[in-house]
């Protein structure tokens, strides 16, 4: 006990001289803990928000939905619910063009026709206030604020949807029953009364309509009971059910990806902080050798000395982590603002004690674990060093010290535990830890090679280099005893690698959006869908008269799979073996087409196309081509038989061709392509693709088509691209925010690493001056050293980033990966410059002091 008190007292007194400098290094930990706490709390807050708002998000206890009108049987169930006291509201959702004659504005909108009473939960906020009930009594529309902007319209204007006209009664900023923003909410919402849907005359064959019934039970638990009771009916009638809890799970699932990614970034920031502590402690220990030697001379034992400094490290970690937690809580106030528009629920700020305490604990652990190895050097200081200066640690250091192995083991398992922490999938955590270990290993190896290389270049018989003395001297600094090559290369390489990887991932995502959404010359950028058979000529005529090319006219036939190789779908769905098709392949509605060759976004990888119309003898199956991904999940290959239900008619097919489809391309892509003979008599609609470069012409063409064929929907792909880019920009902002945090940590790490050699440099600088070196010469020596260090670290970091970025893009996003070379060159240059600037700044004391110091041994 007394001993402990003594250690604490000594640790406190001993830290007097260096507290401020130590805190600077520890602030790297603060940034890491800050990131972790901010992200952790934010995710918790968000989940809580989603949980408490799940019912409001759905607007009801249960939503039944179907792509076709509810059958009489389903209607009967709904009626019985109403009789039992539950409330039922109907809703129909479909896409349509909306047009305001006064401003000539036109826009694709998401029409939601709702019954009075909807929503049962949550409030609708309209402006002017209280306009929502108008839907119950009048033929009006209440629209999303953005629509008014897009159409330059105002409240009171008349909105034309199909054949009906709706005065705009107000705008909504918040409506339950749909997830605001989000990745898939591109459409602008327009609410109209349910009873006015027929007046639009938009519901025709092939139009994509979502029929819903929203139910509020007397007892919310009845939702589950109803689903369990009516499951056979709902399955048969293809009625989807969604409860409030389902909504919650769905949303949190989407958020999980984002938060996993952010958590990893936070984790890396923390590990960077750890490296910062390690190099800071290294610098600290280097400056303490004399003190330690004197303490040892005075009779302090090795364990005592070690305990004193370990106590300092732990205390430091505690202070830094607490400050970091504070920073994290503050950041948490900013994050929702950065991500606004992406979040489905309101995020209310609450303190999350678990996360905060956990973050502090992790911060202390990281500080101690990372400090352990450099601190071990304190143990190796012999009392002799009080008599003779330093350096003698060098041979001792390489000796096999079991404690070093223990420290390394503790560090490795600590990092592993950290990677597993809060990560549900242990494989991902393990993979991450391995990646980190590998990166550090590669960086250490690169540093070792650089040391060896510098030695060969500047010393010995092979040193043929005829570089100026200052450059040679600077490079020689890389390999001299007690050089900073290893610490700077690892710390900086890691930081640069992280930043560059984040950049690469983001750049590849952006490139994907751009190439997939028709920015490319000649690719279609305007799409008309839901064209009825008798409208095809009219639409293509309008396109041509606008001077635009008709790039493709694609027939679309809706269908479902009823059997595979003779086994009925119901049978296959019950089969849970691995050989059975995945259920999505059997449940979905396929929108297929017919033709006889590949299009530009696909590639034939197996079998062969049929010739001409692909007739089949009576009783024989028609040829069909499926995409490779469908083939994989449906467990079929060339020669397998698939039976389709095309609007009630059974069509037998045999797979004769496999296509690899680039779904990323914004084109009409199909899971299944039939021969003309197979589908030419089936009910179908058409898609027409064209390209119009001028935005005004594009809008006029859309309007002309919409006026003559109100049921035809058009997509302005350029507009879609901008929307996607806007959303990605928000994600990018969040990523950049985290990257900036890591950059701050990286700079601190760099400072710490550079500071390790600071004392040496100052002594040496004064001596060189006394021996006749000018300021310029000393500057150049330092510059050569730092530029070499920075270039090396940047190079290895970028290579690691490319590897990591590729892995992430390839395996997580499943996208093609390219390296934007100019950006990487810029990162390389910027890093070298940054290191030089930081290094020179940290060394500026060399120039401040006079050569006189050399006479007074400091």
């Amino acid at each position: 006990m007394r001993r402990l008190r003594f250690i604490l007292a000594l640790a406190w007194r001993e830290s007097r001289a260096s507290r401020r400098r130590l805190l600077l290094f520890a602030s790297a930990i603060s940034l890491g803990v800050g990131a972790l706490v901010a992200i952790g709390s934010f995710t918790e807050n968000l989940e809580k928000g989603v949980r408490s708002q799940a019912r409001q998000l759905l607007g009801a206890d249960l939503e039944l939905g179907s792509s076709r009108p509810f059958s009489r049987n389903v209607q009967a169930v709904l009626d019985s619910l109403t009789r039992a006291g539950a409330r039922v509201a109907r809703r129909t959702g479909f896409s349509s063009m909306a047009y305001v004659r006064r401003t000539e504005g036109i826009r694709l909108v998401d029409v939601r026709a709702v019954d009075p009473g909807f929503p049962f939960y949550g409030d609708v906020v309209t402006s002017p206030a209280g306009r929502w009930p108008a839907l119950d009594t009048a033929r009006v529309a209440i629209v999303d604020t953005s629509l008014l902007v897009a159409l330059s319209a105002r409240i009171g204007d008349t909105l034309e949807i199909g054949n009906a006209q709706f005065p705009i009664a107000g705008v909504v900023s918040e409506v339950p029953g749909h997830v605001t923003g989000g990745f898939n909410a591109f459409g602008t919402q327009v609410y109209i009364p349910f009873r006015d849907v027929p007046a639009t005359r938009l519901i025709v064959f092939g139009s994509r309509v979502r029929h819903s019934a929203l139910i509020k039970f007397l007892d919310p638990r009845d939702a589950r009971r109803l689903i369990n009771r009516e499951r056979p009916l709902f399955d048969r009638e293809r009625v989807a059910r969604q409860t409030a809890e389902d909504t919650q799970r769905e949303i949190t699932g989407v958020l999980d990806d984002l938060s996993t990614f952010l958590q990893f970034v936070g984790l890396i920031a923390l590990l960077l902080g750890g490296i910062g502590v390690a190099s800071g402690v290294g610098a600290f220990v280097a400056g303490k050798i004399d003190t330690v030697a004197v303490l040892r001379c005075l009779g302090a034992s090795r364990p005592l000395v070690f305990a004193v400094y370990l106590t300092q490290a732990a205390a430091l970690g505690l202070i830094a982590a607490t400050a970091g937690a504070g920073l994290g809580v503050a950041t948490q106030l900013v994050l929702p603002r950065l991500l606004r528009g992406l979040l489905p629920a309101d995020v209310r700020f609450t303190l999350e004690p678990d996360v905060i305490l956990g973050g502090i604990g992790i911060g202390v652990a990281v500080a101690v674990l990372f400090a352990l190895r450099p601190l071990l050097e304190v143990r190796l200081v012999s009392p002799l060093q009080a008599l003779r200066r330093a350096f003698e640690t060098a041979p001792a250091r390489t000796a096999r010290d079991p404690w070093r192995l223990v420290a390394a083991g503790a560090l490795a398992s600590g990092v592993l535990a950290l990677c597993m922490y809060r990560n549900e999938d242990p494989a991902v955590g393990l993979g991450f830890a391995v990646a980190i270990g590998l990166s550090v290993g590669i960086l250490a190896l690169a540093a070792r090679l650089a040391v060896a290389g510098a030695r060969r270049l500047t010393r010995g018989p092979h040193a043929r280099v005829r570089w100026p003395y200052v450059v040679r001297q600077g490079l020689a600094n890389l390999h001299r005893p007690r050089n900073q090559t290893r610490s700077v290369v690892i710390a900086l390489g890691f930081g640069v690698g992280l930043l560059a990887a984040l950049y690469l991932i983001q750049a590849n995502l952006m490139r994907f959006v751009r190439t997939s959404t028709a920015a490319v010359q000649g690719r279609p950028n305007l799409v008309f869908i839901d064209i009825q058979r008798d409208q095809e000529q009219g639409v293509t005529g309008l396109v041509r008269s606008a001077g635009a090319p008709v790039l493709q006219v694609v027939p679309i036939v809706p269908m479902r799979i009823s059997a595979v190789n003779g086994r009925p779908k119901e049978d296959l769905l019950r089969d849970t073996s691995r050989a059975a098709p995945r259920s999505w392949t059997l449940r979905r509605e396929y929108r297929s087409t017919y033709r006889d060759s590949s299009v530009s976004s696909e590639r034939l990888v197996g079998g062969a196309w049929w010739h001409g119309r692909g007739e089949a003898a009576s009783g024989m199956p028609y040829p069909v081509s499926v995409s490779t991904d469908l083939a994989t999940d449906l467990k079929v290959g060339i020669g397998d038989a698939i039976t389709w239900d095309v609007s009630g008619v059974t069509v037998e097919t045999r797979v004769v061709a496999l296509r690899e489809v680039d779904w990323a391309r914004f084109e009409t892509n199909f899971f299944a392509v039939f021969s003309t003979a197979a589908l030419e008599r089936a009910p179908r609609s058409y898609v027409v693709l064209t390209r119009v470069d001028d935005a005004g012409t594009r809008a006029r063409l859309q309007r002309a088509v919409s006026e003559r064929f109100p049921n035809v929907t058009s997509f302005d792909v350029a507009l879609l691209q901008r929307t996607v880019e806007r959303i990605l920009a928000r994600v990018a902002l969040a990523i950049r925010f985290m990257a900036a945090l890591s950059l701050g940590t990286g700079a601190l790490v760099l400072l710490g690493a550079v500071a390790a050699g600071r004392l040496e440099r100052i002594r040496e600088g004064a001596l060189l001056k006394a021996l006749g070196a000018t300021r310029r010469q000393i500057e150049r020596i330092l510059l050569a050293e730092y530029v070499a260090l920075g270039a090396l670290a940047a190079l290895v970091g970028i290579v690691l980033a490319i590897a990591g970025g590729w892995a992430f893009t390839h395996y997580v996003f499943e996208l093609r990966f390219t390296v934007p070379a100019p950006a990487m060159v810029a990162v390389f240059g910027a890093t070298a410059v940054l290191v030089a600037v930081v290094g020179m700044t940290a060394s500026r004391e060399v120039f401040r002091r006079t050569a006189m110091e050399v006479l007074r041994d400091v």
Binding site: A390, P468, Y469, Q473, R482, A770, A773
Partner: protein, 232 residues
Amino acid sequence: MLIANNLSKIYLSGGRPLTVLKEVSLAVESGGFLAVVGPSGCGKTTLLGLLAGLDVPSSGTVLLEGQDLGALSEDQRARLRGEKVGFVFQTFQLIPTLTAQENVQVPIELAGQRAGGPARGNGAPERAWELLARVGLDGREHHYPAQLSGGEQQRVAIARAFANEPKILFADEPTGNLDAATGGRIIELVVELNRELGTTLVLVTHDPDLAARAKTTLHLRDGSVVPAAAAS
């Protein structure tokens, strides 16, 4: 030639001015040998620093080899040191991360670099090797300072001091950290080189025997020059 006129140095310590040197004047002719003696804290090191241009005086002038140090910039003074001045320090002051030979090479390379001469063509390694042999350290070229004894380190420092054949050599208690015998040999070496090359020698010492070998002796007390009689 080294001439100092009314040198004063005032340090600000704790916000209050502390006069460390008071109007010190002296002159040493080329090839001369001056010993500076006095009790600890009297300002010997301070004076040496001013004479060598490591620091600037609060008032007074120093003429070193015909150059007025006060008229030179810090870099110009560094250049002058590199060409005409050698140093030997009490604590040796070798660069711990350079080998003996590399330490000796530093002034040669610094000067060669400045002269714009070929980086490697100035024969710096050969010259360093010669000098080390001259001070009896052949075979130890590739040792680091920590691998050398105090006396050996000081011999490396002397080799370094003579690397550019300086006109004047400053030494601040060069034997202060060595035993009497080793110190004696070090002084022999310095005096010998002084004679061989005609180098002017300015030596700070506590050692009366050593001071006795000098042509002239300057006695300092509390920052002022005092007559030899008063000093003893």
